[in-house]
């Protein structure tokens, strides 16, 4: 069902956890449909210095969350914003068709965290 890469990220997810006092937090999904992803960002200048996630969901949800954190660590916000859900799936060597829509939301969570960071910036 899942590629080896997906199973690897599911079994050994990168960057699980929380950041205390994060610069941005984003959450997508809801428990009703079985997937919640929350992403925490630590941003210095324009650079994503640290990123963590917590996810409630299926194998694909965990793996895409893990993958997206790997993809953005050390990147600029601009670079992070162009990462799409499809790009995350591709980086994992593909997802089963049934999973492409429901559990492939990690990039959305990332973007939401960046938006949260930007909103905070504006307020300050």
């Amino acid at each position: 069902m899942y590629s080896e890469k997906v199973m690897d990220h599911f079994t050994n997810p990168r960057n699980v956890g929380e950041i205390e006092n994060p610069d941005g937090v984003g959450e997508v999904g809801n428990a009703k449909c079985g997937d919640i992803m929350r992403i925490y960002l630590d941003i210095k200048g324009d650079i994503i210095e640290d990123v963590k996630f917590k996810t409630f969901g299926c194998g694909a949800a965990v793996a895409t969350s893990s993958m997206v954190t790997e993809m953005v660590k050390g990147k600029t916000i601009e670079e992070a914003l162009v990462i799409s859900n499809a790009a995350v799936a591709e980086a994992l060597g593909g997802l089963p068709p049934a999973k492409m829509h429901c559990s492939n939301l990690a990039a959305d969570a990332l973007h939401s965290a960046i938006q949260n960071y930007k909103d905070k910036q504006k307020k300050e």
Partner: protein, 391 residues
């Protein structure tokens, strides 16, 4: 890696004795039972012996058994066949909200094609109320279809009482007994059952074989048209080896039913209680005690999602199933758990272990050792868990 199979409600391995018998009919006694020659006659004879074996396990006569390609086809034949045969009498059907999709979807197909459907609710344990059935009956009701025991939560339904009601009102009564054949004694006569669905691959027989018991005198329209096999009830060259395997499986499971049932209840309770003791925030789904199938354990483990649990168990060689949406490819979790009143997020975290004849106490110990660690790991990852424990 040793693998531990705890998904017997999904399907079972074929008994070696059954498989060996089937091999003979695949490669040596391969005749078409409709043929006049000796190849045909030996196949016919074995086929009729299988019909006798299936009939015996449910207290029917062999003439009342129609073989099908499985439980799903038998359910479809029972429901659509009744609807077609009885539509002049009425167009109202009654079923329950916890039926297998093979019953529910078929009823809903009819509901889209001119029939009226009442779907009965269940209580928190997944059990249909006889009173609800009584109140749902109308003068134009032609079919009541309620399963014997539920495949997800193991809830045993009050079939005898519902059968009594159906009989009083001369309504055809269909029972899906796929999960109870060979597990709970069935006597179609005593239970006032008109149509009974059974399936081979849940009782250590081959996949792709099932049967519908059709009580003598009950009107049923056929659905497969062709060579008039199965007394015109179900055309198509008979799956002789499969049917013979099913017959043998019925004989074998009938013999060991009582003993095996007692053995599985001990394992079941050990597993269920062990989970509750070792893991916090766990809810048992379905009834306890007498009203629960001997082989069914179903729990909701809060703050984690079912497919993640399954994958983690699978990596340790443990095969189970879940009511999570993610395992079905749909967005909604199990319709059974929702009908029982579970909220979506709890239903998503459900796990079913279904025991079989080969399972041992050591296997249960292993699951009880591993499952808490898996849950702990997934909960540490879950945004719902810290919210809840910080509350």
């Amino acid at each position: 890696m040793k693998r531990i199979y705890l998904d017997h409600s999904a399907t079972t391995p074929v008994d070696l004795e059954v498989a060996a018998l089937m091999m003979t009919y695949y490669t040596e006694k391969y005749g078409n039972p409709s043929s006049v020659h000796s190849f045909g006659r030996e196949a016919r004879q074995a086929l009729e012996e299988a019909r006798r074996q299936v009939a015996e396990l449910i207290g029917a006569t062999p003439q009342e058994i129609t073989f099908t390609s499985g439980g799903t086809e038998a359910d479809n034949l029972a429901i659509i066949g009744t609807a077609e045969a009885m539509s002049k009498k009425g167009k109202h059907l009654i079923t329950s909200s916890v039926e297998h999709h093979a019953v529910l979807e078929t009823c809903e197909f009819l509901a889209k094609n001119g029939f009226e459907l009442t779907i009965l609710p269940v209580d928190a344990e997944g059990i249909v109320s006889v009173e609800d059935v009584r109140m749902a009956i109308r003068p134009d009701t032609i079919l009541i279809s309620v399963m014997h025991a539920n495949n997800e939560v193991g809830a045993i339904q009050p079939i005898v009482e519902i059968g009594q009601l159906a009989k009083e009102h001369s309504i055809t009564f269909h029972v899906d007994a796929v999960q109870t054949l060979g597990k709970i004694p069935i006597n179609v006569k005593d239970m006032n059952i008109d149509l009974l669905t059974v399936s081979s691959h849940k009782i250590y027989g081959p996949k792709g074989v099932g049967a519908l018991y059709v009580r003598k005198g009950v009107r049923l329209a056929p659905r497969a048209h062709g060579g008039s096999q199965e007394k015109k009830r179900r055309s198509g060259t008979e799956n002789t080896p499969g049917i013979i395997g099913f017959g043998k499986a019925c004989e074998l499971i009938g013999k060991r039913m009582d003993k095996e049932d007692a053995r599985q209840i001990i394992l079941r309770d050990k597993l269920m209680n062990g989970i509750i003791e070792r893991i916090k925030y766990v809810k048992v789904n379905g009834p306890l005690g007498e009203k629960r199938l001997a082989n069914n354990v179903n729990v909701s483990i809060r703050f984690v999602e079912g497919e993640s649990l399954l994958l983690s168990l699978d990596m340790l060689g443990i095969a189970a199933s879940s009511g999570s949406a993610c395992t079905s490819g749909s967005l909604d979790p199990s319709h059974v758990l929702l009908a029982m009143g579970l909220v979506h997020e709890i239903a998503h975290g459900s796990l079913r272990f279904s025991l079989g004849s080969q399972n041992t106490e050591e296997e249960i110990d292993y699951v009880l050792e591993q499952l808490p660690k898996i849950v702990e790991r997934l909960r540490m990852m879950s945004p719902l868990y810290d919210q809840a424990i910080h509350k």
